[in-house]
């Protein structure tokens, strides 16, 4: 009895677990239950029950309601789908003037908006793309195809790669200095020499449109939310869901709304990249000390000047992290949106992965990562750039970079011209190294993979079999063995114990949504994979983080490594694991673990670092040894921050599990992938996306509530 009084929380948790397991044992697996694989769910089966809602028939396998809840939300995807089609094809027809046919036509409003938006995006992308690679579309946009036919000379020639490479080096030099210039030049030369020029420039043109637009929209909405509570309240739930929504899932509705191609990809990328930008903008603006705002006001700023000369520059740090995030998301989407027909490196990467040509995939992935790192560094340098007022500079000094660039353009053109004489065989290597005509290391890598396979096949296979048979399968079976009611009780109980009735209700609502959707089993599989990934990631991340923290240099080094790893688009992680483990669950899980270990490590180091120095000294003076200091002082204080890391780890793991569908899994992601190729998949894809987002949000809610409480308790802000 006294024990209970001493540790009331502990016993509450114990009680919850006892109830959970009691329910698990009390509710038997129904004899008719089986995990349905593949398309079987869409085949009409006499054993299925059905109900009609809003005129839609929903078919499902009925079980004991304690075991699996009936999919009462089964109509939702169909309804979303129908609504989308109604919006696009029937709602609000308006008349508009058609330039081509010179007559008025009617079209639904949304379709018209979507077409205009599409045309605008296409124009932007093509403009940049044709400056880099040459082409007709931009000129056509200002004139007409007929005019082009008559004036065949009027084609944008594209820039020789030498000019682009030197140009980026000069830009990098202007922004930062020699180091970055060298890096920029090397990256461009590498891309060209290895024959990835065209796809790289296609990807780059996509990014150069998507990233600035996302930045502007994110900043604008962030400012709006900062200024108006109402806007913030309206945005907040959307932001929350978008934070945990897998990027795949957004693709599907976009297909319906915007069709296939780069323009759709840009719009989707904005949808995904804007929310983190908004959040970080708000965060940064909120953190500004009130006195700085007052100082701005007293200097006589009007609202506009206050925002752009005082607030935004002062919030620069957080906004820069936002820019960094935007760039990361853009590159990640550059690959994923290849599914809906975006051209460039992403498309090549997917193609190579599909053909299991690891070497080619590796080359494309490396190019994406290099460009990502380059743009990231350049945007950072741009934001930190200072002007020198006292330089009494000559004309040459002031315009040095411009002069160099002009010189480069001339030299580049001359070189390209000379090239036409040098390389008579058809390819002018000084203008553009054609795709797959450069040096390729693909064979080397492929042979390497083969060699690894031949040499270590036995061990890899043994490890694989052990992991799948002895760890993964039992774990999966355990997750599927949970009756729906038991899971609900566990989750809601945890919500209540952590955050009281409010948390319990939120968590209950989120879980119910998934339980009432037709994909509860799949969600369990997703959860099992994510759980496995998160556990291993946290073990590795917390250990590595703690060890690295022991030394200042290794800690900084590790944070740097995390930075670089985070810049890689998520898809790139699939390449090496497929090299080693082929197409198995192990591959997905290892990719998950590698990807999700980044935030776990980072937050551990940051958390430990945030422990005040004074406490260190106090602890040392109390005569603790290193280990005691770690366990008694540093861990308890850093724990809230580490839990936020856990939160990120979960989100990262979920993302990767969903992307892992590309390798072949049986979870929600697989269905999202399927929805992509389904004409009526929009509703399904979107609902699935929400399901995944909700899994993330359940943990997000629980962890955040706990962290808030704990921080208050410890008095950390």
């Amino acid at each position: 009895m006294e024990l209970i009084k001493k540790y009331p929380k502990l016993f509450q948790w114990l009680f919850l677990l006892i109830v959970f397991f009691a329910l698990c044992f009390a509710i038997d697996v129904p004899e008719t239950y089986k995990f349905i694989r593949g398309q079987a769910e869409f085949v009409k089966d006499p054993n299925q029950s059905s109900f009609v809602f809003l005129g839609k028939e929903v078919r499902y396998y009925a079980f004991d309601v304690f075991w699996r809840l009936p999919p009462l939300l089964g109509w939702l995807p169909i309804w979303i789908n129908d609504s989308l089609f109604f919006l696009m094809n029937e709602w609000m027809p308006i008349e508009f003037w058609n330039e081509d046919t010179q007559e008025f036509r009617t079209r639904p409003l949304v379709l018209q908006i979507s077409r205009n938006l599409t045309a605008f995006m296409t124009f932007l992308i093509e403009l940049i793309r044709e400056i880099l690679l040459g082409g007709l579309e931009t000129i056509v946009a200002f004139t007409s195809w007929d005019w082009i036919d008559k004036n065949p000379w009027a084609e944008l020639p594209g820039l020789p790669w030498t000019i682009v490479a030197a140009g980026s080096a000069i830009l990098a030099y202007k922004l930062s200095g020699k180091g970055l210039a060298l890096f920029a030049g090397l990256v461009m030369v590498y891309i060209s020499v290895f024959g990835q020029w065209k796809p790289s420039m296609q990807t780059l043109s996509f990014i150069l449109v998507a990233a600035p637009l996302s930045f502007i929209f994110g900043l604008g909405l962030g400012i709006a939310a900062f200024k108006s509570k109402r806007v913030e309240k309206a945005l907040y739930p959307i932001l929350l869901v978008m934070q945990t929504m897998p990027q795949y899932a957004v693709l599907v509705p976009a297909l319906v709304l915007f069709g296939v191609g780069d323009h759709a990809a840009v719009i989707i990328t904005m949808v995904v990249a804007v929310p983190p930008m908004i959040l970080l903008t708000i965060l940064g603006l909120r953190a500004i000390p009130p006195e700085v705002i007052e100082a701005g006001r007293m200097s006589g700023c009007n609202n506009w000047q206050l925002m752009f000369k005082v607030l935004i520059p002062t919030a620069r740090r957080d906004i820069l992290i936002g820019v960094n995030q935007v760039i990361m998301v853009c590159f990640s989407m550059a690959v994923i949106s290849a599914f809906i027909g975006a051209k460039g490196l992403g498309f090549n990467l997917l193609l190579a992965l599909n053909q299991l040509n690891i070497g080619l995939a590796l080359e494309a992935g490396l190019c994406i990562s290099l460009i990502a790192i380059l743009l990231d560094k350049m945007s950072l340098a741009w934001a930190n750039k200072q002007t020198d007022y006292f330089g009494n500079l000559t004309f040459y000094q002031r315009n040095k970079n411009l002069l160099f660039f002009v010189a480069t353009v001339i030299i580049g053109i001359v070189l390209a011209y000379v090239g036409t004489f040098l390389f008579k065989g058809g390819y002018n290597y000084l203008f553009e190294v054609p795709h797959n005509k450069g040096i390729s290391t693909a064979d080397f890598w492929n042979k390497g993979v083969d060699w690894i396979f031949d040499t270590f096949f036995v061990y890899i296979k043994a490890f694989n079999t052990w992991l799948i048979q002895d760890v993964l399968q039992p774990m999966r079976a355990l997750y599927l063995r949970m009756p729906a009611v038991a899971t609900l009780v566990l989750v809601v109980g945890a919500g209540y114990l952590i955050g009281g009735i409010r948390s319990a209700l939120v968590v209950c609502g989120l879980t119910l949504f998934i339980a009432l959707s037709p994909w509860w089993d799949r969600a369990l599989v997703t959860a099992y994979m994510a759980t496995f990934g998160v556990i291993v990631s946290c073990l590795i991340g917390f250990t590595v983080g703690t060890l690295c923290f022991q030394n200042k240099h290794s800690a900084s080094f590790m944070l740097g490594v995390c930075d670089i790893f985070q810049t890689f688009p998520s898809f790139v992680y699939l390449i090496p694991v497929m090299m080693l483990f082929g197409i198995t669950d192990t591959s997905v899980l290892i990719a998950v673990i590698v990807y999700a270990t980044i935030p776990a490590t980072r937050y551990t180091i940051e958390g430990l670092r945030s422990v005040p120095v004074g406490l260190h000294d106090a602890a040392t003076m109390s005569g603790v040894n290193k280990f005691q200091r770690l366990t008694k002082i540093e861990f308890p204080l850093a724990f809230p921050h580490m839990m936020l890391g856990l939160n990120q780890t979960i989100v990262f793991a979920l993302f990767m599990v969903i992307i892992g569908a590309f390798i072949g899994t049986e979870d929600l992601g697989q269905y999202i992938l399927k929805a992509l190729s389904d004409k009526k998949g929009a509703g399904i894809g979107f609902t699935l996306g929400i399901c995944v987002a909700f899994i993330g949000l359940i943990f997000d809610n629980l962890i955040r509530t706990w962290v808030e409480k704990r921080k208050k308790h410890l008095g950390i802000n």
């Binding site: 000390p289 006195e291 700085v292 007293m298 006589g300 520059p313 002062t314 620069r316 007022y389």
Partner: protein
């Protein structure tokens, strides 16, 4: 006397949702307790005073006394709930946004406790900031800012960033920035409170030097009574939003109006604060000794000389004219006498 530069008439600042209505209902008799029970917090309670040209008014109070709120009402960083504020005869609360911005761009400068420098700008850029906001060309604003840099003695550090400077240096930048537009009215919100004692003293001296040169109309906020005594022409002591006493330093030390004020004055070394003229007897008798002391002398400096005299000592002004007399016993009474009822 000419028109006061700053004039406050029954200024109230009450935080809370229906503060305006409650203030109206209370008819000017604001009781902090009843307001608090209704969810309102009284920041400034019926403040009325004037500051004339070239005068330095120091508002002194402990944290939460409403002194910063009062300053923010007068600079209109926050809108007063009730009352009237006039800046050079202009009704501040009636100004629209544009006029307010014009006023701040040309007439007002403010220094903040936490310096409030823009972290992304260098020293000279920070100082030039209010000028650039006004629309002055970059070159002109920078050269003007360089003059300010010299004025506050930061030459050679103009290209440093705020984070690279010490607290005292940062506040010098803050001071220079607030002076860049050559304002007539200078607000200082606990400018030296975040500094170390030695630096604080140095900055106070520097500040007096500047004021000697510039002769601005100043409202200076502090929680440090010694600082108030050292700098002020007049001191306003605030408690719970109410101005308890507003008077010259000498009068406050000699005649504390309330028990609260008296507590502050208790520990003050009067011989270091009071001047001869504050304690002298304005009526002159013929029976004076040979010694003459200046009326603006601090007691401490001349006490020893006066105490060697047996007769009263003549007090003269700068023109060597006798304006009063002082008795040695008076000095003893002032310095060592009972704190409650001297005079």
């Amino acid at each position: 006397m000419s028109e006061p530069v700053i004039k406050c008439e029954a200024v109230y600042k009450i935080f809370g949702e229906n503060a305006k209505k409650m203030l109206k209902d209370s008819n000017g008799n604001v009781d902090a307790k009843t307001f608090q029970e209704n969810g309102c917090i009284v920041g400034v309670n019926n403040a009325s005073f004037e500051v004339s040209k070239g005068e330095m008014l120091v508002v002194m109070g402990l944290s939460g006394s409403g002194k910063s709120t009062l300053l923010r009402c007068i600079s209109r960083l926050t809108d007063a709930t009730g009352g009237k504020i006039f800046i050079e005869g202009q009704d501040l609360l009636q100004l629209n946004n544009k006029e307010l911005i014009e006023l701040r761009r040309n007439k007002m400068g403010m220094v903040f406790q936490s310096f409030a420098l823009l972290p992304h700008k260098t020293v000279v850029e920070n100082i030039a900031f209010p000028l650039q906001i006004k629309g002055i060309k970059t070159e002109d604003s920078i050269s003007k800012a360089m003059d300010m840099v010299k004025l506050v003695g930061l030459d050679g550090r103009e290209n440093y960033f705020p984070r690279e400077l010490s607290g005292g240096q940062q506040q010098r930048v803050g001071i220079a920035r607030s002076l860049a537009v050559e304002p007539d009215i200078w607000f200082l919100d606990e400018p030296f409170s975040a500094l170390d004692p030695l630096i604080r003293k140095e900055m106070q001296d520097e500040f007096l030097r500047l004021q000697d040169k510039l002769q601005k109309t100043i409202m200076f906020i502090t929680h440090d009574f010694d600082e108030a005594l050292k700098l002020a022409d007049r001191i306003a002591i605030m408690k719970d939003g109410i101005i308890e006493q507003l008077d010259t330093p000498a009068n406050i030390v000699l005649n504390p109006a309330t028990e609260y004020v008296r507590k502050f004055t208790e520990e003050v070394p009067r011989e270091k604060v009071l001047l001869i003229k504050d304690v002298m007897d304005p009526s002159t008798t013929d029976n004076l000794g040979d010694l003459k002391v200046l009326k603006d002398e601090i007691i401490e400096n001349v006490a020893e000389k006066i105490l060697t005299q047996e007769k009263s000592v003549a007090v003269i002004d700068n023109n060597n004219k006798i304006v009063g007399s002082i008795n040695p016993t008076k000095i003893i009474n002032t310095v060592f006498g009972g704190r409650k009822n001297n005079n």
